[in-house]
């Protein structure tokens, strides 16, 4: 699936002895920290995952869980716009198709942006430049990576707009973003991000700003396009419904770390982390009989400057006192395999978790 022969394949961290991965995208121990006056904001603090082409990874988490910063880190945009601020610190490895991005020449990474990996953002109105037409913006995206004249590029833009379902694309290409509706803008954004046939598409809350009927259209479009283009997709969202629709694998983030990772079915049907249980219990569901009461997670998400010691979730976890020796408050749990391709980071024994899930949680959902 991946070619290891490319020049960047051998490049790695000096300390790293691990070989280039065989996965299309592999993130190893990614840390992104932002120094601020109040302290070090550990937005991402040791995240690892793999993603193959044609597959979709859903990253789920609440605000401040580090999910968006992860995507910016992969794109190499975590420091962008930090003029005069103390620079973000990034460490770990990000292997994209055999190239390690963090040690690569920044200009090489820039050339990968938009061509090999591209991104769609939450609010398409603010993510598109208000002063340029949709066409101009797509043409620009195409011509950065393709040496063609404007006419050819515009033809390509119209073709892409047509592909994402914008009616009369030859006319609409000359419209400004404010002349599009929310759903159309997101379609245009998708057209722009796919104009160079990227291998990796990162969608950061792509439907959060949209109405539910439009959200359905956009999710449908992303699914179709992925089939057609065969790209790897990372979809970042707080909405478990959206990941359930699209994702093959799910990664649940909490306090800048991964607390559970596994195939979508496993994460939904046999979740093995109390935070995942909390998310599932917090969510009113249309597909079930009316729940009597929601089961919220107590407390608030942690501050990323002051992440609780031990398990970051321990202050909110109803089961934090079960493991002995106060271990949940002192020792950071590692991800351990709890099933095939299924990991969770929790001090409870797998047996305890299985029992709690099947006896206490699942019946109430």
């Amino acid at each position: 699936m991946t070619e290891l022969s490319k020049s960047g394949a051998a490049v790695g961290e000096p300390t790293s002895t691990s070989p280039a991965p065989t996965s299309f995208l592999e993130v190893r121990d990614l840390k992104v920290h932002f120094p601020t006056d109040d302290g070090l904001v550990k937005s991402v603090d040791g995240l690892s995952f793999k993603l193959e082409k044609g597959k979709t990874l859903g990253i789920v988490g609440e605000s401040g869980s580090g999910k968006s910063v992860t995507s910016l880190g992969i794109m190499g945009l975590h420091t962008a716009g930090q003029y005069g601020k103390r620079k973000a610190q990034i460490s770990g490895e990000i292997w994209l198709d055999g190239t390690e991005l963090l040690s690569a020449d920044p200009d090489e990474v820039r050339k990968l942006r938009g061509r090999e990996m591209s991104m769609i953002f939450q609010d398409p109105l603010s993510a598109l430049h208000p002063y340029y037409t949709i066409g101009q913006q797509i043409v620009e995206a195409y011509r950065i990576h393709h040496d063609v004249d404007k006419k050819t590029a515009k033809r390509r833009a119209v073709e892409m707009l047509d592909r994402v379902g914008i009616p009369q694309p030859d006319k609409r290409v000359d419209n400004y973003p404010h002349e599009f509706s929310g759903g159309m803008r997101q379609r245009a954004m998708i057209a722009m991000s796919l104009v160079n046939n990227p291998e990796l598409l990162i969608a950061d809350e792509p439907t959060t700003a949209l109405d539910v009927t439009v959200q359905a259209q956009i999710l449908d479009l992303i699914r179709d396009l992925q089939k057609e283009f065969g790209s790897a997709v990372i979809i970042i969202t707080h909405d478990l419904g959206v990941v359930a629709e699209l994702a093959d694998d799910i990664l649940v983030m909490y306090g800048g770390r991964c607390v559970e990772r596994g195939p979508a079915e496993k994460v939904f049907y046999e979740p093995r982390h109390p935070y995942t249980w909390g998310l599932l219990g917090s969510m009113p569901r249309l597909d079930r009989e009316q729940q009597e009461r929601l089961i919220p997670v107590k407390g608030s998400p942690p501050s990323l400057i002051n992440i609780p010691s031990g398990c970051a979730f321990n202050p909110r976890c109803p089961y934090a006192d079960i493991p002995k020796d106060n271990v949940t408050r002192t020792v950071r749990p590692e991800l351990t395999e709890v099933g095939s391709q299924h990991w969770a980071a929790c001090h409870l024994t797998p047996e305890q978790r299985e029992r709690i899930w099947t006896e206490e949680i699942a019946p109430k959902l």
């Binding site: 938009g114 002063y131 400004y176």
Partner: protein, 350 residues
Amino acid sequence: MGHRKTSGGPRSCGGPLAVLAYLIRRLFAAAVMLVVIILVVFCIFFLVPKWAGVDIASSFVGKQADPASVAAVREKLGLSDPIFVQVWHFFKGIFVGRTYSAGGDITHCAAPCFGYSFRTEQDVWPVLTDRFPVTLGLALGAAVLWLVFGVAAGVLSALKRGSLWDRGAMVIALGGVSLPIYFTGLLSLAIFSYGLGWIDGKYVPLTESFTGWLGGMILPWVTLAFLYAAMYARITRATMLEILGEDYIRTARAKGLKEQVVISKHAMRSTMTPILTMLGMDLGALIGGAILTETTFSLPGLGQAVLNAIKTQDLPIILGVTLITSLAVLIANLVVDVLYAVIDPRVRLA
């Protein structure tokens, strides 16, 4: 809200006809505004002295006036006419010219007639037209300078926020904003003209000698531009920093654009919007006369004229300059609005 899928095509803000209609409407509005301004100014300058017990006719004739000539002047200027008749004559003078007559003494004042200076008895209009190019040259030249240096300094400061450069530039900018122009002006004169003797400092009309004109204008330009560049640098820096945090700048980077292009194309275009708005206003106001600069450097511009007129209560000159200033501001406003719509497609000319 509200774009029907089927409607297609760009809408209302485009269309040359719509823009033309808009321009006509705006020009009409400007004309109405101008008439109102004339009325107000006329009332202030001709009625207020009357209420204050100052007799315009005797001030026209001068201190050693004898009653007969004062009466003659009063008749000639129509000062005993009812106010609306006076206003009518004044308007008529501006658009078609007017004839002053008192007995056999007939003076024709061709359009645009703003009357005669009380002091020099000169026709006001030629005074304005003589002095206008000086002020225009001062304002435009300084504007070019402050735009180039102010915006550049602002952008650099934004990109190097917190650096020594940024702090230094902002301290200088603070100085520029707070130091009065007569101070910086006199200082520069003292250093470059009297001290080093590099610059003659005398105003020479452009029509006579280009280099002479440049030599005479360079210090006023720099002095005036220093003040404005400081303001523009601060605004540019603040705007740039805000724009750099916008989502669409992140999108531009995510496309793989080089950082220089992100800044110079995507961020600059948005940053220029408030700058242009300011530029229009400032230019409009300056064309009415940069009184302090012109006085400091003895430039024979509108500002100097109006200052002299104020000192000597030369009402027709004050009135004329006021109208020129208003006109300049109105036109600058219109230009800014049109430019704004050109830059920002979301603004509709309607």
